[in-house]
């Protein structure tokens, strides 16, 4: 079997998967009476047409990338982190708290400190389920989801109480949000006329960092070993539980940083709904990107495109933006199926033989 064939095989499977997802999506679109072709056209191409819209896509890709990187560390180490949503919320709170407490600090001090505070807050929120899993075998699926709720309530509580903008109180509108954060926290917007901020470069640096951590250091080696086969890792003297906790802390810290970057770059104050499902979409992005930084970056862009495109379909075709959630669900199902197919070397061999024209009497291919 040649290498070209292998690559071609995998690429064509992925293309088939995308087509399958679109096909299923179009059935659903048809049932709500939408113009299928136009909907896809708007979702996939409309956002690319102007700089402003493209910048909005990239803007969405920044938190997605950072969260997905963290999730991939957890996944690779054998623990499934569904708690990024809550970890991000905690990160926002940590950053906001520091920015509110020390508004006068110069930017080179305040910004790193606030981002670090976000990372630590998210990290603590990741540590809890990691520790529970390592010591008491508590399912991380349960604990992370439950911690999401706690984080969401805590977030609401702080925004309506201790962190509430004093101006809101005096003015009496009572919108649950913090006061505008110190300018010294703001990330620069480098593309005039858009909201695109320097967090983009930060995300790319983090991607590089994760690549080096996972594939070039002994810690990454041990984490991946623990994730790929906990039993063999234990046999090899690797403390699986220790690396599990570390991985969850990193995963949570990344979600926390995503929150920090999001308010420092986009909102510049803590408001409700900032997390807005990024924590969950991040899981899909991580899986879609093959749990590898090189895949996560394009996958984030693609999902950013879907989010912006969905807004536009709502305006231009009248298809509700929630359709994107439906598409995401379909994509997850298709990814799982695709992974099974890609992991079957026997099927690949069969196709190879067919391609070669061997096997005179081939049976029907049952996938």
């Amino acid at each position: 079997m040649t290498k070209q064939f292998r690559i071609l095989y995998k690429v064509s499977i992925i293309i088939l998967a995308i087509l399958a997802a679109m096909l299923i999506g179009s059935i659903i679109l048809m049932t709500i009476g939408a113009d299928v072709f136009k909907t896809y056209l708007v979702i996939l191409f409309e956002p690319l047409k102007t700089t402003l819209q493209l910048s909005e896509v990239l803007l969405r890709a920044i938190p997605l990338t950072i969260i997905a990187l963290g999730i991939s560390v957890a996944y690779r180490s054998g623990i499934i982190n569904i708690g990024a949503e809550g970890q991000m919320a905690m990160g926002i709170l940590g950053t906001t708290a520091v920015a509110l407490a020390f508004p006068e600090l110069p930017k080179p001090v305040l910004l790193p400190m606030a981002v670090l505070a976000g990372a630590i807050s998210g990290g603590v929120w990741g540590f809890i389920p990691g520790f529970l899993k390592a010591k008491l075998q508590v399912s991380e699926l349960l604990s992370t989801v439950m911690l999401n709720y706690i984080a969401a309530q805590f977030y609401t509580f702080l925004l309506r109480g201790p962190m509430l903008d004093p101006a809101e109180l005096t003015m009496g509108s009572g919108t649950p949000q913090s006061m505008r954060l110190s300018r010294n926290l703001w990330l620069d917007r480098f593309l005039p006329g858009t909201r695109l901020h320097t967090g983009l470069f930060f995300a790319l640096i983090l991607a590089l960092l994760i690549y080096f951590l996972l594939w070039k250091t002994k810690y990454g080696y041990k984490m991946r070993a623990a994730g790929a086969s906990a039993r063999a890792a234990r046999y090899g003297g690797i403390s699986v539980t220790w690396y599990l906790v570390i991985a969850m802390v990193i995963s949570g810290a990344f979600a926390g940083m995503a929150g920090a970057i999001e308010i420092a770059g986009v909102h510049r104050r803590a408001i409700e709904g900032i997390t807005g499902g990024y924590g969950f979409s991040g899981i899909v992005v991580a899986l879609f990107g093959g749990l590898h930084p090189a895949g996560i970056i394009p996958a984030s862009f693609f999902f950013g495109l879907l989010i912006v495109g969905a807004d536009m379909t709502q305006r231009m075709v009248g298809v509700p933006a929630n359709m994107v959630n439906v598409l995401q669900g379909i994509i997850i199902l298709v990814i799982v199926a695709t992974k099974m197919i890609l992991a079957d070397p026997y099927l690949m061999e069969k196709v190879w033989r067919k391609v070669q024209g061997l096997g005179k009497k081939t049976k029907e291919v049952t996938a």
Partner: protein, 512 residues
């Protein structure tokens, strides 16, 4: 569903060919079994015996060729089709639910007893009695599976297969988990049954092939290399045909040395996964420069012993003195650093990380060592050099050092593990079933390496259920039964018979 009860008077597989990724598992194989015949399907591991039988049972579809029963071509799309045609297979791994009774286990597959609202257990019980009487296979329908010995469980499998209407039996290495005595019983039983039905049995133990079969078919690398009547050929002829050359496994013929004790197990108590004591006050001492064979039927505490010594299982009480230090309940890392080498039983899931490349697996225990990492960064060059060196030295047959270790054959995976464990220069080595499932060539290589290490003065604990392996290599033989050492014999006092009796749990050989 209508099940026919027509006898199977002939079964023929014609020109069966089956390819797997990178392997030709069955290469144009043709074989025939007539009524009342016993065919022994012989060959080394990986020769394609099980694959061929899985094709016959409808688990795999052949790429080419056809199967004929009573002269009519049949197509089995699934094992159910094969059952309906009257074929029954007893696999190496028994397919029984441990916390159900024999009766319930058999009822699971007995479709006639199922109606939409009720399961007719009485009908199943009648059927079991009928089969038991007909073939002289006695089982207690109300015993729970977990209460039964391996030999009894196998009898349940046989009864189950026959109850479900099998008129043609396929047995995959039926004796591999049995004690020598149980093996003898099984052979007598199968002989009696062969008057009623035809049997294909897979084996690589030549004695039972001689004892039981009428015809013999030998597979090598997926191809049929020989077919003939059993009585015309001696076991050594068959062995030569099986391997393609004369094979002599190396023997430990050096005088036994009197090194100092290096591993001393004192009153060791360890629990199994199910929570009962798998090791009960076990005592054993191993000296440097000797191989102690731990003989026993698997499931008598061997796994728990190996895991406890390596820190992978909690020690309830007792001491494990390793060069004087008590390593009981220390971390696996600590024990590895103390100089313990371990070739685990589950080579595919424990000994390697299957998805990792071969070169990565070779540093599984050493990624943090200065040799392979600097300031926490892995030294790729050193890792690759290490892998290339070991690949040559240990004759690991892989396309390169970057392939996923899980894609290698069993023998080569075992060589990867052995290479890693030996190149780490351990002070002691525990080898659990080191050649199980390997062909003779790989087995020979691994045995030579173990003897080499012994010569260097390293103590070795060899866990095995193959008496030949134990007798070939050991200086002393310890027999384990139900978590205790029955007896420790010097090699000169150990033989198949004495070990077999001890393995079956009889302590005083005078009573037999």
């Amino acid at each position: 569903m209508e099940v026919t009860h027509k006898k199977i008077t002939s079964l023929r597989m014609e020109h069966i060919t089956k390819r797997f990724p990178g392997v030709l598992a069955s290469d144009d194989i043709t074989l025939t079994v007539e009524e009342g015949e016993v065919l022994a399907l012989v060959g080394e591991n990986g020769a394609g015996k099980t694959t061929l039988m899985n094709i016959l049972m409808g688990l795999y579809q052949p790429d080419e060729g056809r199967i004929l029963i009573n002269g009519e071509e049949v197509h089995f799309k699934s094992p159910n089709d094969a059952f309906d045609a009257g074929l029954g297979m007893v696999h190496q791994q028994y397919m029984l639910v441990p916390n159900m009774t024999v009766l319930e286990n058999i009822a699971l597959g007995y479709k006639q007893a199922w109606s939409p609202i009720k399961l007719d257990l009485g009908m199943v019980r009648e059927r079991i009695n009928e089969i038991s009487k007909k073939y002289g296979l006695f089982v207690d329908p109300d015993a729970y599976i977990w209460q039964l010995s391996v030999g009894e469980q196998q009898r349940v499998e046989l009864v189950k297969t026959l109850c479900l209407g099998a008129r043609f039996l396929i047995l995959d290495e039926p004796t591999s988990a049995l004690t020598p005595q149980e093996t003898d019983e099984l052979i007598v039983l199968l002989k009696r049954m062969s008057s009623e039905l035809s049997i294909i049995f897979i084996s690589h133990k030549l004695q039972e092939v001689k004892d039981l079969s009428d015809k013999i078919a030998i597979l090598r690398h997926g191809a049929m290399v020989f077919e003939g009547t059993t009585k015309d050929h001696s076991p050594s002829d068959i062995a030569a045909l099986m391997t393609g050359h004369e094979v002599d496994l190396p023997q430990n013929d050096a005088p036994s040395c009197n090194g100092t004790p290096v591993l001393d197990l004192k009153n060791l108590n360890v629990k199994s996964d199910r929570g009962f004591l798998a090791l009960k006050d076990l005592n054993l001492t191993i000296r440097g420069g000797e191989i102690v064979g731990l003989a026993g039927v698997s499931g008598n505490g061997q796994r728990e012993l190996a895991e406890a010594i390596n820190g992978l299982r909690k020690v309830e009480s007792g001491e494990i003195l390793f060069f004087g230090e008590n390593i009981a309940n220390k971390t696996p890392y600590h024990i590895i650093e103390a100089g313990m080498g371990y070739i685990p039983e589950e080579r595919n899931t424990e000994g390697i990380v299957p998805s990792f490349s071969m070169k990565e697996n070779l540093i599984l225990k050493d990624s943090g060592r200065d040799e392979f990492s600097k300031h926490s960064f892995l030294k790729n060059k050193a890792i690759e050099k290490n892998a290339n060196d070991l690949r040559v030295k240990f004759d690991i047959r892989s396309p390169n050092i970057h392939v996923a270790a899980g894609s290698l054959s069993g023998g080569n995976i075992q060589k990867v593990i052995l290479a890693r464990e030996i190149s780490r220069k351990p002070k002691f080595l525990i080898a659990v079933y080191p050649i199980r499932g390997l062909d003779l060539g790989a087995a020979e290589f691994i045995h030579k390496q173990l003897l080499e290490k012994r010569k260097e003065g390293i103590g070795i604990l060899l866990v095995s259920e193959e008496l030949d392996e134990i007798l070939d290599l050991s200086d002393r033989v310890a027999v384990i039964f139900k978590g205790q050492i029955q007896k420790v014999l010097d090699r000169k006092d150990a033989n198949r018979r004495s070990l077999g009796i001890l393995m079956a749990g009889v302590k005083d050989d005078q009573t037999v």
